[in-house]
């Protein structure tokens, strides 16, 4: 085995003594030592700056001062072991040296100097033990600190109790929640602190933990911790696996509950949607089935009734079914973000005029006046022509549907500097104030009289709202019941659909 080479700094001004030490080290068969010698304090300081010796052997009387001046001053700042050599009978000096950080002292004589390798070996071993102990203490302290920091960093409320419900430890989140310092909480009964009760609550999971030695959980509403929490109580076991206490962790579940509510709400909307759609499907289906049945029977029997009337009825309801399914599919696409938009520079006046012309025969049929007022100053803006046509068509069809006498008016205008507005005004039945907030919701036609007679699917305005939203625009309605309604939407001029 290779011997470790130790560096020993000998601070000694008497050559004869140096020589004894040098020879003693050289002759020693166990230690291999590189001996550095300094004859003065100055020289010694210079060495100590340059090398980290494994041992310093320091004479107290040097030409340029006392060896005491080389000592660090206290035990903590000591970087390497220093053994001081005092003259015979100078106990006082020895004690002073130990106070100032020397590891050991020897009384200088030739006999002792010869023994230097043994002394050096012992001192280095002792030093190494001290260092190790110090390191162990340091790492223990660091581990405790690290643990406390982790304990305090978690946002979960954590406290530890003994078997009698006495709090033995709390983390910062726990102390903050109670509004006390950790020191104030330690030693108090947890049920007093958290439940303001004279005894543990009957539902406390610690009963179960004590019984079976396993973790138990429960939900607590916000009355206990000021927020809804999931509480887990885990047993604290001793070496024989006896339950001697518990670790209680309370996790804030406000966000989880909110997310769950959202999921529930979505499921409810979906289920309502499905039930409404199935209702809306069954009605035309009933009409189709019955009218075809009747038409068939009348044809076979050669009855008094012409089958034509009932076949027309069937056809009308097939159209209604088709519209409903188209609308539902449109919605599905919008919800899934799969509705493709074909945005291009278009002339909004032209689009409005087209819808106006398409619907003109229908208004004539109902005896309604149909007017159009377009602002010629509107330049081309970017939008999806089909989708915006669909929106205008939908609003205008509604207007005609709900208007028995008077007029329908199509208007385009500028809305401020950055938007254009399309308005469709009717003199129809109007919309009751209580129905206004639900106007653009899905399947909200129920409160509106006479609607289903005319075969609306209840999705048109909801789809229109989504289409306008996709264009970064806005849609709304104004109405005076009995006098009429005006539907408006605005589209931004600059911005393209994102």
């Amino acid at each position: 085995m290779d011997k470790e080479i130790l560096t020993v700094l000998l601070v000694e001004d008497e050559d004869a003594h140096v020589e004894i030490v040098r020879r003693a080290f050289r002759d020693h068969y166990l230690l291999e030592v590189r001996l550095k010698v300094a004859g003065t304090l100055r020289e010694a300081r210079k060495y100590m700056d340059e090398i980290l010796p494994d041992l310093v052997v320091l004479d107290m009387e040097l030409p340029d001062g006392s060896g005491l001046d080389l000592l660090p001053g206290n035990k903590e700042d000591i970087k390497y072991p220093i053994v001081v050599m005092t003259s015979h009978g100078d106990e006082k000096m020895a004690v002073e040296a130990l106070k100032l950080g020397a590891l050991d002292y020897i009384v200088k004589s030739e006999d002792v100097l010869v023994e230097m390798p043994r002394i050096a070996g012992r001192s280095i071993r002792e030093w190494s033990n001290i260092t190790k102990r110090k390191e162990a203490e340091e790492s223990l302290k660091n581990a405790a600190k690290e643990w406390q920091r982790t304990f305090d960093s978690t946002s979960d409320i954590i406290f530890i109790q003994d078997g009698d419900y006495n709090i033995t430890r709390v983390n910062k989140a726990c102390a903050n929640m109670v509004g006390s310092s950790p020191e104030e909480l330690i030693g108090r009964k947890c049920y007093r602190v958290f439940h303001k009760s004279d005894k543990p609550l009957p539902e406390c999971p610690f009963y179960d933990v004590k019984r079976d030695g396993k973790s138990h959980s429960m939900m607590l509403d916000k009355t206990v911790f000021g927020m809804p929490v999931a509480l887990t109580v885990s047993p604290l076991l001793d070496d024989e696996a006896n339950v001697v206490g518990a670790i209680q962790v309370a996790k804030d579940i406000t966000e989880i509950i909110a997310a769950e509510d959202k999921i529930k709400e979505t499921a409810e909307v979906k289920s309502k949607f499905v039930s409404t759609v199935s209702h809306e499907l069954r009605t035309p289906l009933t009409a189709i089935r019955e009218s075809i049945d009747i038409a068939l029977e009348e044809t076979l029997k050669g009855g008094d009734h012409s089958p034509e009337e009932f076949l027309n009825l069937a056809k009308k309801n097939v159209d209604r079914l088709t519209r409903l399914i188209d609308d539902v599919l449109d919605f599905q696409k919008i919800d899934a973000g799969k509705m493709g938009f074909n945005v291009d520079k278009n002339d909004i006046n032209e689009v409005v005029r087209e819808v106006y012309q398409t619907l003109l025969p229908l208004t004539k049929e109902k005896g309604l006046k149909c007017e159009i007022k377009l602002n010629g100053a509107i330049l081309g803006i970017s939008f999806d022509r089909d989708k915006i046509t669909q929106v205008i068509m939908n609003i205008a069809s509604n207007a005609i549907k709900f208007t028995e006498k008077g007029s329908i008016e199509f208007i385009t205008d500028l809305e401020g500097d950055n938007a254009i507005r399309v308005s469709i005004k009717d003199t129809g039945v109007g919309i009751a104030e209580e129905d206004m907030p639900r106007l653009f919701n899905r399947f909200e036609q129920i409160g509106r009289k006479n609607d289903r007679k005319t075969g609306g699917t209840g999705l048109g305005l909801a789809i229109s709202k989504e289409l306008i939203r996709e264009h970064k625009g806005k849609i709304w309605a104004e109405s005076t019941p009995g006098e009429g309604s005006t539907f408006h939407f605005v589209l931004p001029i600059e911005e393209k659909r994102g």
């Binding site: 039930s275 069954r282 009933t286 009409a287 019955e290 009218s291 049945d293 009825l313 289903r452 007679k453």
Partner: protein
């Protein structure tokens, strides 16, 4: 004298096919497209049976039924509810409304005629 049936539904197409079936089966039929009109006709026409849609724009079918069944003058008139959707929970409401029967759309007209016939016979 043929029996008189009142059909209350806001879907004119449904009213049309149902009325046709009932007339073909030999009943007198009066129709209403709203709950309010239906209640008026109960008073003026004194029908022998009422076919009543659940979802009406003005008054819910349940409420009309409950109202009739709590009225000494009309409680003996059989009421058959027509519905396009049976959602759990509404079954209970159906029972408490006092309706004599319920038919789900789309229905088989033979079933409809059978139920109507049975209830009118029972009411005699």
């Amino acid at each position: 004298m043929s029996k008189k049936i009142l059909v209350v539904d806001d879907e004119p197409d449904i009213v049309q096919v149902v009325s046709f079936r009932l007339r073909n089966a030999g009943y007198d039929v009066v129709t209403a497209l709203s709950g309010r009109k239906g209640l008026d006709l109960v008073e003026s026409e004194r029908p022998d049976l009422i076919l009543l849609d659940l979802r009406l724009p003005d008054i819910e079918g349940y409420d009309i039924c409950e109202k009739l069944k709590n009225d000494e003058k009309y409680k003996s008139i059989p009421v058959v509810l027509l519905t396009a959707s049976i959602i759990s929970g509404s079954v209970k409401k159906l029972e408490s409304s006092g309706a004599d029967d319920c038919i789900l759309k789309p229905f088989d007209y033979e079933d409809l005629l059978e139920i109507v016939g049975k209830l009118i016979k029972k009411a005699k």
